[in-house]
C-alpha cells in the first residue's frame, strides 16, 4: 500500500537523512521490520531467560532421554507389540497408531454419514429432508465432547455385562453367534491366517498388495473400454471383468494364507478370542463420525446446490440419462466444491481425536501427553513432541490439499 517513487530522484541531490527512515515510505517498512525483529529478540530473551531460571530452580533440564526409559504402564489397545517394560517412546508409537486408527475409522464413517445426510436433505421427500435438517442442526450445535461422553456412557451403562450371556436363561445373547455387545466393548470375529508369512503385518501387506494390483488392472480395463468406445462408439460391458478383477486376486491371496475366523466365546466371566473393540474406541469413533458427518452433510448439500440448474438441463438437452448426468456433469463439478472442506474436516477429526483422553482411549494425547507426562514430569518435552506430531499431520495434509486444489482449479483462459 506504499507509494513507490524513484529512489534515486530525491536521494541523488539531497543524500540520505536519518529522518527518512521514518518519514519516507521507501524506508519506513524496513524500519518497522527492524523494530519488530528487535521486539522478537527481546521477547525470546524474556521467555528463554525465564525458562532457564525456572528449570534451574526446579532442578530440571531439557532432555529427551526419557523416551528410552521403561514406561511401566499398560495400554489396553496395542496395534504393535507393547508391554509395561517397553519404553516411553514405544508407548508414544502405540499412541500414534491408535490416533491414526480412530481417525481413519471416523473419517470413513463420517464421509458415508455426511454424503448420505447431505443428499437426503435435498430429497423431495418432506419428512426425510426434515429429519436430516434436524440431525444436522442438533449435532452441529452441541460440543463433540458431550457426544463422546453420551455414547461412552451408553456403552458402559446400557449394554449388558458379559455375565448376562451365561447360563441357559441368559438375559442377553450374541448376534448370529458372532458378535457380542457388552459393556466391556464389542466382540467380533477376528481373521487369522494359518499359513502365515512370518508376521501379521506382512500378511496384511500381501492383502493390500493384492488390492493395489486389482486397482491398477481395473484402471487398465477402464482405459481399454474408453479406447474401444472412442474407436467404435460402443462401450463394451466391463462390469463382470471388474468384478473378477476385484475379487479373484484378494480371494487367492486369502486362500493361500489360509484365512480362518477366530470367534469370540464366553469363557468364565469374560469373552475370549475374537477381536475386542472397546467402548472407548466405539464412543470416540461414532461421536466424531456423527458430529463431523453433520458438517460434511452441509458441505455436500452446498456443493450440489452450487452446480447451477442450467448444467443439468444442458446435459439433459444433449440426451444424457439422469444417472449419467449425475456422474458425468454434476458430480465432477460438485466435487471441486466439496473436497477441500472435506479434507479440512478430516483434519478436524484427527485433531478432535485428542479428546480420547476424556474416555480413556489410549491415543497419543493420552500416552505421551497424559501418563508419560505425569510419570516423568517432562512437561515441556512431552507437549512439544505432541504438538510436533499433530503439526506434521496437519501440514502434510494441507500440502496434499494444495496440490489437489491446483490440479482441480478451473482452467481459465
Amino acid at each position: 500500500m506504499t507509494t513507490m517513487t524513484d529512489p534515486h530522484a530525491s536521494t541523488g541531490s539531497q543524500g540520505f537523512k536519518l529522518s527518512m527512515l521514518l518519514n519516507d515510505t521507501r524506508y519506513r517498512s524496513l524500519t518497522f521490520q527492524f523494530i519488530a525483529l528487535v521486539a522478537i529478540i527481546a521477547f525470546m530473551a524474556f521467555v528463554g531467560g525465564n525458562l532457564v531460571r525456572n528449570l534451574a530452580e526446579a532442578g530440571l533440564n531439557i532432555s529427551y532421554a526419557f523416551l528410552g526409559e521403561p514406561a511401566g504402564y499398560d495400554i489396553n489397545q496395542r496395534p504393535i507389540e507393547y508391554d509395561s517394560q517397553s519404553s516411553h517412546g514405544r508407548a508414544a508409537m502405540v499412541g500414534i497408531l491408535n490416533t491414526l486408527i480412530v481417525s481413519f475409522l471416523a473419517c470413513v464413517t463420517a464421509t458415508v454419514i455426511g454424503v448420505f445426510a447431505g443428499v437426503l436433505r435435498l430429497s423431495n421427500n418432506w419428512i426425510v429432508a426434515r429429519i436430516m435438517s434436524v440431525y444436522v442442526e442438533i449435532f452441529r450445535n452441541v460440543p463433540v465432547l458431550i457426544w463422546i461422553l453420551i455414547i461412552f456412557s451408553i456403552m458402559i451403562n446400557a449394554l449388558p455385562a458379559p455375565r448376562d450371556f451365561r447360563g441357559a436363561d441368559a438375559s442377553s445373547s450374541m448376534l448370529f453367534d458372532m458378535f457380542a455387545f457388552t459393556n466391556r466393548g464389542v466382540y467380533a470375529p477376528a481373521p487369522e491366517f494359518l499359513n502365515s508369512f512370518g508376521s501379521a503385518a506382512l500378511n496384511w501387506l500381501m492383502v493390500i498388495g493384492a488390492l493395489v494390483l486389482s486397482f491398477v488392472v481395473a484402471r487398465t480395463v477402464k482405459r481399454w473400454a474408453t479406447t474401444k468406445q472412442e474407436a467404435t462408439g460402443i462401450r463394451p460391458a466391463t462390469w463382470y471383468i471388474n468384478l473378477a478383477v476385484w475379487i479373484v486376486p484378494v480371494a487367492l491371496v486369502l486362500f493361500f494364507l489360509g484365512l480362518t475366523w477366530n470367534f469370540p466365546e464366553l469363557k468364565g466371566f469374560n469373552f475370549k478370542g475374537g477381536m475386542q473393540v472397546r467402548g472407548s474406541l466405539i464412543a470416540l469413533w461414532f461421536a466424531l463420525a456423527i458430529y463431523t458427518g453433520a458438517f460434511i452433510a452441509e458441505n455436500v448439500r452446498a456443493g450440489i446446490l452450487a452446480i447451477s440448474k442450467g448444467q443439468t438441463e444442458a446435459a439433459g438437452a444433449l440426451g444424457l440419462r439422469p444417472n449419467r448426468i449425475m456422474s458425468l456433469v454434476v458430480l465432477p463439478q460438485a466435487l471441486r466444491v466439496i473436497i477441500p472442506p472435506l479434507i479440512s474436516h478430516y483434519l478436524n477429526i484427527t485433531k478432535n481425536s485428542s479428546l480420547a483422553i476424556a474416555v480413556g482411549y489410549m491415543d497419543i494425547t493420552a500416552t505421551l501427553g497424559g501418563i508419560t507426562l505425569l510419570q516423568t514430569g517432562r512437561a515441556i518435552e512431552a507437549v512439544l513432541l505432541l504438538m510436533l506430531f499433530y503439526l506434521t499431520i496437519s501440514l502434510s495434509i494441507s500440502a496434499i490439499m494444495n496440490v489437489f486444489n491446483n490440479r482441480m482449479k478451473l482452467k481459465e483462459r
Binding site: 518497522f32 525483529l37 423431495n124 453420551i150 505432541l386 504438538m387 503439526l391 496437519s394
Partner: protein, 518 residues
C-alpha cells in the same frame, strides 16, 4: 359477438361455467402428501421408514420424559418413585433440580452471591443487544456496552469497586493526555518531545541491554553438551552480540525519531499516552484504589478465579475469548497480507502453528508449560492462562476467515483507496476493513460458535465447567452415581440454545447486510 351466431347456432352460452373444484387427489393435504411423501415407490418406502423411526423414538423417549421424577434426593429414591408408579422407564430430572446451582455456577462459588453472575448475564444481554441489532436500538445504549466489561468484572470477581473504576478513569485520563499533547503548540510539543525522546531512548537502550545480557545467560546455560545444544547456544550468542551492537543505536534512533516527529506530533502523542497509562496502571492502581476504598468502602466479596465453574465458566471463557480474538485476528490477518516479509512471516508461522495443533495441546501448555515461561514466583491463575491460550487459538482461525474476506475484495478497492491519497491506516480503516469484515461475518460467527463449544475442553485439564461438573462432582457423588442421560441432555440443551441462536442470528445479519443486487 354472440349475436352474429344467434340465427345460425341453436345454443349460445352467455355466461361462463363456474370453475369446478379440483379433483380430491389434486388438492389440499392429499395433493401435498402425494407430491412430498409418496411421489415414487422409493419415496413412499423412505416415508414409511422415517415414520416408523420417529414413532420408535417418540415411543421410547416420551414415556421416559413424561414419567420423569422432578423431586427426589438420590438416584435410588428416584428409581423407586418411578417403579412405585408402575412405570418401566422414567427420567430422573430431580438431579437437575438438586444440582441446579452446581450446573450453572460450579460448586465453589459462594451461594449468597449467585445474584452477581446472574445480573452480569442479564446485563450482558442488555449490553450486547445494541451491538447485534444496531438499527433497532438507540446508539446511546452503546455506552453501556463500553462500560459492561468493568461492571461484569466487578460483579463476577468482586473486590473493591474502585479497582475497575480506576482502570476506567485511567483510560479517560490517557485519552485526555492524548488530546492535550495533540493540541499543544509546536514549541511546547518540541520541548515535551525532547524529554520523552531522551527518556524513551534511555529506557529502550536499557531494556535491550538487559535483553542482550539475558540472551548471553541463556546461551551459557544451554551449554555445549551435544551438537544440538551447541548450535542452539551459538544462535543465542549471535543474537546476544547482535543486540549488544544495536542497543545504543536503537535507543538513539528511537529517541531521535520521537524528537524529530514533534512537528507532526503522532509519535510523541502515542508514546506519552502509552507511558501515562502504563504509569497509572502499574504504580497508581493499587495504592489509589485501596486508599479510596478505605475512605468510601464499596466492595463485594472477592471470589478467586478457581472458584468459577459450571455453565458460568463456559460463558465467561466464550465471551472474553471471542471479544479479544476478533481484534487480534484482524491484526494477524492484516499482518499476513502485509508486504513486509518479517511481519508476514511471523503471522504465517503463528497462524499455521496454532491451526495445526488441537486445542487440548494448547490447554496442556496453559496447564503445565506456561508457568515455565513466566518470571519465577509470578502467579498467573489458571483461568487467565486458559483465556490467553483459547484467545490465541481462536484468533488464528478468525485471522484466516478475515484473510478470506480481504482476498475477496477486488483489487480496485485497494487501488481506489491509494489514488484518493489515503495512507495505509486510513485505507484499511475506511475502505478495506468495513467491506472485508462484512464478507467475513458468517465465518467469524462459525468460529465463535466453534469456540464456545470448545470451552467444554477445559474439563480435561480439571476445570469444573458444566461438563467437568457432570463428570466430577455429580456423577461421582454417592447420591447421583453414574447418572448420564438427564445431565448430558441438559448440557447439550444449553449449548444447543446458544449456538443455534447465534447461527440463526448470523444468517439474519447476512441478509441484512446484503446490499448487492441479486
Amino acid at each position: 359477438m354472440s349475436d352474429t351466431h344467434a340465427q345460425s347456432v341453436a345454443f349460445v352460452r352467455h355466461d361462463s361455467i363456474p370453475p369446478s373444484p379440483p379433483p380430491a387427489t389434486q388438492a389440499g393435504a392429499v395433493k401435498w402428501m402425494r407430491e412430498n411423501l409418496f411421489s415414487t415407490w422409493l419415496n413412499a418406502a423412505m416415508t414409511i421408514i422415517a415414520v416408523y423411526f420417529i414413532a420408535r423414538l417418540v415411543g421410547f423417549a416420551f414415556p421416559w420424559f413424561w414419567n420423569g421424577v422432578w423431586d427426589a434426593d438420590t438416584i435410588k429414591e428416584c428409581r423407586e418413585i418411578v417403579a412405585a408408579a408402575g412405570n418401566t422407564t422414567g427420567a430422573c430430572f430431580a438431579v437437575l433440580v438438586d444440582r441446579w446451582d452446581h450446573l450453572l455456577f460450579g460448586f465453589k462459588y459462594p451461594q449468597a452471591e449467585y445474584w452477581r453472575p446472574t445480573l452480569a448475564f442479564v446485563l450482558l444481554i442488555v449490553a450486547i443487544l445494541p451491538v447485534l441489532f444496531s438499527n433497532h436500538f438507540p446508539r446511546k445504549m452503546l455506552i453501556l456496552t463500553g462500560l459492561y466489561p468493568f461492571i461484569a468484572f466487578w460483579l463476577i470477581w468482586g473486590g473493591s469497586l474502585w479497582v475497575p473504576l480506576f482502570i476506567l478513569a485511567s483510560i479517560f485520563l490517557t485519552m485526555a493526555v492524548f488530546r492535550a499533547v495533540e493540541s499543544m503548540s509546536v514549541s511546547m510539543r518540541t520541548m515535551l518531545a525532547a524529554v520523552v525522546g531522551v527518556l524513551s531512548g534511555l529506557g529502550l537502550a536499557y531494556l535491550l541491554y538487559s535483553g542482550a545480557t539475558e540472551l548471553w545467560f541463556i546461551s551459557d546455560s544451554i551449554g555445549t553438551a551435544d551438537a544440538f545444544s551447541t548450535v542452539a547456544s551459538l544462535v543465542f550468542k549471535a543474537l546476544s552480540v547482535f543486540t549488544y551492537i544495536f542497543f545504543i543505536p536503537m535507543g538513539i534512533f528511537v529517541g531521535y525519531a520521537i524528537f524529530n516527529d514533534a512537528e507532526d506530533g503522532g509519535l510523541v502523542t502515542l508514546v506519552t499516552a502509552l507511558a501515562a497509562i502504563y504509569l497509572l496502571l502499574a504504580y497508581a492502581l493499587g495504592p489509589v484504589s485501596s486508599a479510596i476504598n478505605s475512605i468510601i468502602p464499596i466492595e463485594l466479596e472477592a471470589v478467586p478465579s478457581r472458584d468459577m465453574g459450571g455453565y458460568m465458566l463456559s460463558m465467561i471463557l466464550g465471551v472474553i475469548c471471542v471479544s479479544l480474538s476478533i481484534p487480534l485476528g484482524i491484526l494477524l490477518a492484516l499482518g499476513r497480507q502485509s508486504n513486509m516479509p518479517l511481519i508476514k512471516g511471523v503471522c504465517v508461522v503463528f497462524i499455521e502453528f496454532i491451526r495445526g495443533v488441537p486445542l487440548i495441546t494448547l490447554l496442556f501448555v496453559a496447564n503445565v508449560m506456561l508457568a515455565y515461561f513466566m518470571p519465577p514466583q509470578s502467579n498467573f491463575d489458571l483461568i487467565l492462562r486458559v483465556i490467553i491460550m483459547i484467545t490465541m487459538f481462536s484468533s488464528a482461525y478468525i485471522a484466516e476467515v478475515i484473510r478470506g474476506g480481504l482476498a475477496a475484495l477486488p483489487k480496485g478497492q485497494y487501488e481506489a483507496a491509494d489514488s484518493l491519497g489515503l495512507n495505509y491506516t486510513q485505507a484499511t480503516r475506511l475502505i478495506i476493513l468495513p467491506q472485508a469484515l462484512k464478507i467475513s461475518i458468517p465465518g467469524i460467527v462459525n468460529v465463535a460458535v466453534g469456540l464456545f463449544k470448545d470451552t467444554t475442553l477445559v474439563s480435561v485439564i480439571s476445570m469444573f465447567d458444566i461438563v467437568g461438573m457432570i463428570r466430577g462432582p455429580i456423577q461421582q457423588s454417592t447420591d447421583w452415581i453414574s447418572i448420564y442421560w438427564e445431565v448430558y441432555l441438559f448440557a447439550a440443551g444449553v449449548f444447543f440454545i446458544v449456538c443455534f441462536s447465534i447461527s440463526k442470528y448470523s444468517q439474519w445479519l447476512e441478509r441484512q447486510l446484503a446490499t448487492d443486487h441479486r
